[in-house]
Amino acid sequence: MKVSVLAAGSLAMPAGGQDIPRPTRVEAGGWRRFSRLARLGACALSPVLESAPDACRSADVDFDRDELALFFGTGIGEFLSSYSFLKSLFTKGPAMASPLAFQNSVHNAAPGHLSMAFGLRGPSETLCAGPLTVLRTFERAMVHVVAHEQAAIVLLADDLGADSELGWRLAGVDAPLAEGAAAFLIAPARSGSPVLSLVEARGDEALRSPLWPGEVDGARTIGCAEGLYSTAEAHLLAQAFARSEGLRIGFRGERTALDLQALP
């Protein structure tokens, strides 16, 4: 299964908790209500949507914000908002529990905020598959694009704060941690643009998530963006797109791989 990548953008932050720059397209009032995950997503999505009309025109596909599908994948989801809500509940009592933190605690809060900020009224799905989130979200989006012959947005994001870092450490993860997001505008495959393919990996060709560097079994390791959880692979794909490089990424426990190739 193949699709074209018409545009991509990504943001990787080496440590959690840093200020995230507000894209000019997002109004300050809305930005204040965004969860951290939504803010990361906005930074990756904004440049993709800016270039989307021209990119779609060049590829001869429709760009319609009423029909453009958004597939949002997140491995960690809105843990930080959930934690914030529970902190208000447990320390201040039910009468003072934070409604803002609660409404942001659903995993689809980020695409909800982004739909308002960017006027996206098409299909919207939020998918979670742990370390396979990038694979499953792309798989879902590619199936949609091929079946409907329409462009679609794939957005991957995972955040990090002190409260979630503690959670990872309590779960025994000692790898470096970071946060980030990556966005892709994909469309039915056509010549002249980079192609993203879903392939069956063979043996050592299947690279694995950098979150488990010890499980790579001699395959080439991915050298950056460690600790972005599932989003790391998406960030690398976006970087490969920007450099017109080919990249193959395998997934832990599966023989399926995502393969980005810049084709002539």
């Binding site: 491995g75 659903v106 809060a109 909800g112 799905e125 998918l127 979670c128 598959a129 742990g130 949609h144």
Partner: protein
Amino acid sequence: MRAPIHLASFGCLTALGDLPSSFASLCAGESAVRIGGARPDWAPEDMPIAMVPMDVSAYSRHRTFGLAIAALDEAIRAGMSIDPDGLAIVFANTTSGMLLGETAIAQHLAGDSPEVPEDYLWNHLAHRPAEAVGDWLGATGPRVVVSTACTSGTVAFGVAADLLRAGRCKRALVVGSDALCRTTLFGFRALGAYTRTSCRPFDVERDGMAIGEAAAFALLEPGPGDLELIGCATRTDAFHLTAPEPTGKGLVRAVLAAIAPEGIDRGAIDHVNAHATGTPTNDGVEALSIAEAAPNAPVSAVKGAFGHTLGAAGVVEAVILAESMRRGIVPPAVRCAQAIPGVAVHDQPRFVPQRVGVSVNLAFGGHNAALALRWSGTTERGR
């Protein structure tokens, strides 16, 4: 013409029991939503809830996972077979293992170490219930969780159908499950959306929602069958994070997109299962949407009986719709004493042959979702 997909099996476990019990109780106008009654020890007595009266801890220490496995186990013991080869698990859920996560986070906030460290974050990552059910069944296909709040279940059908049509799996099990937890109970109360009385969908005096817990499933297989999934669609309001757009046009677009692949006219819809949470805002807007999207259809609304089962709601309600179509019975809107004008709900079950049925859900994020089923079998009227 797209390749057909049918529901080979389906079932549920609600606060009113398994599918036969739930459907019979629903048609009898019974409600499991109550103040007092069965509840976790942390749930306030004055908040109406609907709890499944079953200990599922033998299946999993996480109640959300345990409810799902219990529903499947009950169906398998009753004769349902599920081939795990190439079986995709598409799980609809909002809270995962949050119930135990809340305990771990409370212990941390109190200055103690969480008794089970993994409960603090790892055990309530969203993908965990799909892994739990997939491992229990030995499923070898893709596993994914759909977490679009209260539309999760309806969206999951669309994800599963597309995976099947693309050949990414041989069969797909759509599962929805959500257990009661503090986050959702106190969260909806913090938003001012929780009822002080009881959930009364479409009633002129409705004052809010009440949460229930449930699990439900549907096994989708390729090929024609008596009950086919003919479409699934979502559309977004881009209006407000928690309130529906006042004209309800997002839901109309979703319904029309769900029936479009088969070229079905809106006038041919025979039954709409409404989201109908019992909040003043939702039900008012939804009434407008349904009147436009399915002008001739009788309407059912189940949350007065089961409560709002959140991430499981779309699957629970699709399963109830499927049973309704199979039996040719549109259930009553339990606890709706006087319906708002223009909504075709009734207080008694009605015998209505149904060829095309639609189930809809709305969610935080401005999400609207609809699925459409077609029944072509013999209606088992009155069973």
